[in-house]
């Protein structure tokens, strides 16, 4: 029965992979593909979905340190997969939703235990159109890739590829005009947050909260030029953040892979726990030194693993060295967590813009 399930699971994964390849082909096969605008994608750090109290965490087999790591690791992987597909413009990973996102991806980790991964994901473009809203579930598949050791060896590769496939399919179903509208609305939404009075009139929304262009500002509109400039400056910071996330991903991957393998082995071993215990009692006399040592070492290993992941997470949190960004002959010194730095940077930009608005 289990074997049949496994075969079905592998077949399903292979089909998904084929569909993905086919899907990418479909997007690329469009004759006007080269001229089609590529949307930028903003991925927000995944929601941890961490139960508040320790007892529930245990009941649900959730390790806070690991979950905290996953909240950054999993979107980093998705980002790499989307970049690999060549279907998108810039793919950015941010500590919070991007106010000017063309396509925003948010997800919550429903469950993750090394064997199963479940992500509740929503992808929405700037106009409010939903691209994907579903729970993606994947079963770990051990794989080895000689070509892409970083991406190809992830046991949940197929899950990410099915997300990428769904998004690529949606992108291919939209016309260039629709994609251009998304880009314009995204820019104007960003602008409206900086200067609502100036830019809100350019947008209109219907009863379903779908946003569309009411009219367009002139290309040489000085305000719009300024907004574009500010947005570029924001990207400067996001790129700094991005580098840190990428570095985090590369550093954490071996540890996290090890952790997941360990968890998979744990779960597999629980099934024949009684048999193992019986075998153990044959191998090691119950209560003997070796048996006690094995019992302690198993626990020690599990705790040290947890604590190492804790340290790694702490290391990431400490990755908040002050960032210096030069903007128009001024040097800005940002400090705090990445999230705080991002907020600070946005408020600096907003303040600068407001000053400009007031200036004659």
């Amino acid at each position: 029965m289990n074997k049949a399930k496994n075969i079905a699971s592998v077949l399903s994964c292979v089909c998904t992979l084929l569909l993905y390849c086919l899907g990418s082909g479909l997007v690329q096969a469009q004759p006007s593909n080269d001229e089609r605008p590529l949307l930028d994608v903003s991925i927000e750090i995944f929601a941890m979905n961490l139960p508040q109290d320790a007892l529930t965490q245990q009941a649900e087999d959730v390790y806070p340190a690991v979950r905290q790591t996953e909240a950054r690791y999993l979107p980093s992987f998705l980002k790499l997969i989307l970049e690999e597909s060549g279907t998108w413009g810039a793919v950015r990973l941010l500590p919070e939703p991007d106010s000017g996102a063309e396509l925003q991806i948010s997800a919550s980790i429903v469950s993750s235990n090394g064997t199963q991964l479940e992500l509740a994901l929503i992808a929405r473009d700037a106009t409010g159109r939903i691209w994907a809203e579903k729970t993606y579930t994947g079963t770990a598949v051990e794989s080895v890739s000689l070509n892409q050791p970083l991406l190809g060896t992830d046991p949940f590769l197929y899950l990410y590829q099915s997300i990428a496939y769904d998004l690529a399919e949606m992108a291919s179903s939209l016309s260039s005009a629709q994609l251009n509208e998304i880009k314009s609305v995204a820019l104007l939404q960003y602008a409206a947050l900086l200067a609502p009075a100036v830019f809100t009139p350019y947008l209109s929304s219907d009863e379903n909260n779908m946003i569309s262009l009411a009219r367009l500002p002139a290309d040489n509109d000085p305000f719009l030029q300024r907004v574009k400039q500010i947005r570029e400056h924001e990207y400067v910071f996001i790129d700094v953040v991005d580098e840190q996330y990428e570095s985090f991903f590369v550093t954490i991957k071996p540890v996290y892979d090890l952790w997941r393998r360990y968890r998979r082995e744990q779960i597999a071993s629980e099934i024949d726990k009684i048999n193992r215990e019986m075998r153990q009692s044959n191998d090691l006399r119950r209560g003997s030194y070796m048996s006690l040592l094995e019992s302690y070492n198993n626990f020690r290993w599990a705790r040290m693993q947890d604590q190492y992941l804790d340290e790694i997470s702490e290391g990431f949190t400490n990755e908040v060295l002050p960032t210096d960004i030069t903007l128009e002959d001024s040097l800005y010194h940002l400090s705090g967590t990445l999230e705080e730095q991002y907020q600070e940077w946005k408020s600096i930009l907003k303040e600068l813009y407001e000053l400009d608005e007031q200036s004659p």
Partner: protein
């Protein structure tokens, strides 16, 4: 004296010995008591660097000999040595020589802990030990903290001014740590009690630690992922 009477007498003796041992251990090295749910006092600050005081700490060999002697005296008063057939309890074949020696050897190994580094704030304590996992206790709102792994459970909490750690591991292995700070704050006691499912008497080892200071450095370092340790000069 028939066999039944002998067993009854032996049981009575055992109870008396256990009671006496219980009273003694309550005075000297109290058994870990139940972690209290309601704690109304301030949390004792045990933070700092600690090194083992070998003069005050139990000498393992002495304790082990006493332990063996005690077991032998209580359970096989007529036998000179504990041998493989020695059994504890009323007929249950538990506590053979291999188990007792195994428990002792294991206890010696986990109670070495020559250096400790304790980090603490109002809600959390981490006792770092060399070559071992850190004992970690989160006592926010003074609640008992429980950590579960597939290989066992770690429970901790305050009992009066003592911090208790209880490890419930597979194979019936139980380890209790009682951490107590002296009133002047210069001495730390860690009493470790180890028991297993196959030995009826737990083994308790008491270790003392004294504070030591790491020379102050004007360099402050933090761990980061991409740049490992990032250090900066503090003060001037």
């Amino acid at each position: 004296m028939n066999n039944l009477t002998f067993i009854n007498l032996s049981l009575n003796k055992l109870l008396v010995v256990l009671l006496a041992a219980g009273l003694l251990s309550a005075c000297a090295t109290p058994e870990p008591s139940r972690i209290s749910e309601e704690v109304t006092y301030e949390v004792v600050d045990m933070s700092g660097n600690w090194e083992k005081d070998y003069q005050l700490s139990d000498d393992f060999e002495t304790e082990f000999n006493l332990y063996m002697f005690d077991i032998q005296r209580r359970l096989n008063p007529q036998s000179e040595n504990i041998n493989r057939s020695t059994t504890f309890g009323s007929g249950a074949a538990i506590g053979n020589r291999e188990s007792v020696i195994g428990l002792a050897r294991f206890t010696e190994e986990i109670t070495r802990m020559p250096l400790l580094q304790i980090e603490q704030d109002r809600a959390r304590m981490r006792i770092k030990r060399e070559d071992d996992f850190a004992l970690l206790c989160e006592f926010f709102n003074r609640q008992t903290s429980v950590t579960q792994t597939p290989f066992g459970t770690e429970e901790c909490g305050w009992n009066g001014e003592q911090l208790l750690f209880m490890l419930y591991l597979t194979d019936g292995l139980r380890i209790f740590y009682q951490v107590t700070l002296s009133p002047n704050g210069q001495q730390l006691n860690i009493t470790t009690t180890v028991s297993s499912a196959t030995v009826s008497t737990p083994l308790t080892i008491s270790n003392y630690y004294r504070r030591y200071d790491i020379p102050e450095s004007d360099i402050d370092c933090i761990l980061t992922l991409t740049r490992n340790n990032v250090c900066r000069r503090v003060g001037n």
